[in-house]
Symmetry: C2
Subunit: 375 residues, 2 copies
């Protein structure tokens, strides 16, 4: 199988697996325990936290480990709702967990920031204008979109918010481990997780202030900001994966992989001219290509199923909303045509994906198009 669904989850890296297995044997005590075995586990947590802090560029004390980006997003929005009476502004293309948590925690007091049609990037003029007239509880703009790979101008959104003294929240789940995370640590709140770049599932984090209101209470773990026995092996393994990715990011790996992506797009446009790449004119992640296939196919499932039979694991959009046959809120916000979701395919490469894998996808798409009468 050629796996092109890394935005849903990235298979565990060899380094992460090794770190996990090692940690489960060497660091098997509870970090809160009063003996040396516990202290060793606690020290390993510190090292992992320092690793993440170095990547994001913020003090380790501002980082809280969680069970994943969804828990982190829920915790941040609960914290903001509990500590402010204002309105939450969030981009219209945020991940479903941000939208669902906003609906729950900011009922009647959240609004969506528009994105530039077709482009898919948050409308900074609209944000800037709104900030001149109103003062929200916080602004949330993701770093990169999970469905389209469109990179958001989060640095500029962050700076605009800072000028107005408004807390800025950034969902970096699809960014960290794919691109250099420098500057993310300057956001007030950041959420992310490890399984999007080859760490294990079940590990996430929050960059947050020290007076963060815990969503999960109980023991004094994480300086009182998230109770529950820490997943030491998972956290250590995540840090190993992050170190591996940050080292690769520092080489020319990104440029090379961006070229593979663009060659695939070029070849695809030539082979199937009816295909539309979503957000083609926006900066996009090197690993993600979201396309609208030609309209001949009557149902998006058929493309995915056909590709699956041809040995390609791709997606129809967010794994968190696939299965639900409703239109993608991301495409709607981007105004990418009525019924477009039905023709959406997302290819998301990983760190182990090769140039040849992209060629394999292209060949499979050609076959699928033939079989579906979509050429």
């Amino acid at each position: 199988m050629t796996y092109f669904d890394h935005n849903a989850t990235h298979p565990l890296s060899a380094a992460a697996r090794e770190a996990w297995v090692d940690a489960t044997s060497r660091l098997s005590a509870n970090p809160s325990a009063p003996h040396r075995a516990g202290a060793r586990a606690a020290a390993a947590l510190d090292v992992a936290r320092d690793r993440l802090a170095a990547s994001l560029g913020c003090p380790a004390a501002n980082l809280v480990w969680t069970s994943g980006a969804t828990e982190s997003a829920n915790a941040v929005l609960r914290h903001l709702a509990a500590n402010s009476t204002g309105t939450l502004w969030l981009s219209a293309v945020e991940h479903p967990c941000f939208i669902a948590a906003a609906q729950r925690d900011f009922p009647g007091r959240h609004r969506f920031l528009p994105v530039v049609p077709k482009l898919g990037t948050v409308d900074l003029d609209a944000l800037s204008d709104a900030l001149r007239h109103d003062r929200p509880a916080a602004v949330a703009v993701m770093a990169a979109n999970n469905e389209t790979g469109v990179i958001q101008p989060w640095q500029r959104a962050r700076d605009l918010c800072r000028e107005h003294g408004v807390p800025f929240v950034c969902d970096a789940a699809q960014w960290t481990g794919k691109l250099a995370s420098t500057g993310l640590g300057d956001c007030d709140y950041v959420v992310g997780c490890a399984h999007k770049f080859g760490g294990p599932a079940g590990v996430g984090w929050i960059r947050c202030p020290s007076d963060f209101t815990p969503s999960i209470v109980g023991g004094p773990q994480e300086e009182g900001r998230r109770a529950g026995t820490e997943n030491v092996a998972g956290i250590v393994s995540s840090a190993a994966a992050l170190a591996e990715r940050d080292a690769a990011i520092a080489t020319n790996a990104i440029a090379e992989r961006t070229a593979w992506r663009d060659r695939f797009i070029g070849n695809l446009m030539t082979a199937l001219p009816g295909t539309t790449v979503i957000g083609l004119d926006a900066p996009r992640l090197w690993n993600t290509v979201a396309v609208l296939m030609p309209p001949a196919a009557d149902c998006r499932r058929r493309w995915v199923v056909k590709l699956d039979r041809l040995g390609i694991a791709a997606s129809t959009g967010s794994a968190c909303s696939s299965g639900k046959e409703k239109p993608s809120h991301v495409l709607e916000a981007m105004r990418v045509g009525e019924g477009a979701s039905d023709r959406l395919l997302r290819f998301s490469a990983g760190w182990e994906t090769t140039a040849a894998d992209w060629d394999t996808v292209l060949a499979a798409l050609k076959s699928a198009a033939m079989e579906l009468g979509a050429t």
Copy 2:
């Protein structure tokens, strides 16, 4: 090191490690993904859920995977608070996560059920009497206490609650994987986690109704009752550990291990007559011995540190409250003497602990007592 702190966390079992490593290579896709790799991961989750359901004796549809018992407890109490205006009754010896969540979610509307002094079991007469006069939102009584190993009469508490139509919540974190979980599935709400019996940290569950209010929202995972990408490898690994433990529980392993515990207690009382075993007259877990050491030692840390130097990893109580030098609420509720927490040591064995390990602890305790002038 001789590890006697399994109630804090149990090292990963060999079967659990093998299952995790296998799952991270064979089941590396997102269970929500629309391709066959995703379907395989989803099917593995179903098998694991069926395994837990068989252990607890409830429909698999009533089980939700979480990141741990603390998250589960928080979610259950949030759900109950959101769906009722009544009072929460909980035993005075519940885990800190239940107490903290009760204080947060039932402010001014929770009360503690007393335990029988010295014995440490919840006072069923008091519960029965209270239920005749009042109708709480729910009653929470743990299955077995983490600090003392005292087994609670949860089956009778559950039946009393059922007679009065009151939801019953049981914290089975220290029970499941140590004793047969039959009957737990008949409780309305049960929480537990895997790392207490040799599964990985970061995996917990809730037995709950199908209309459970999610604490973490976002994607449609877990039938809308807990959003976030499932920790497939962790869950599969947990199920492997549970199967292993349930198989052992079905043999005479428990009787044998209970005899080891009791022989240790007998030898300890002979060697250090000033020692008091907490809850000695109550039914207790086969793995746990909580003792008050003779008063010569002025600080509980010293016993733990001394033992640590002698190669024994033990605890001073709950890992979730150690580090905080405050009296144990469990000992206070049991009325086990002023200042008793300072002399508390908890030895908690695991599935790999041998009879010889108990002898090693005894010898170390004798040495420590000599060195501390506590004989």
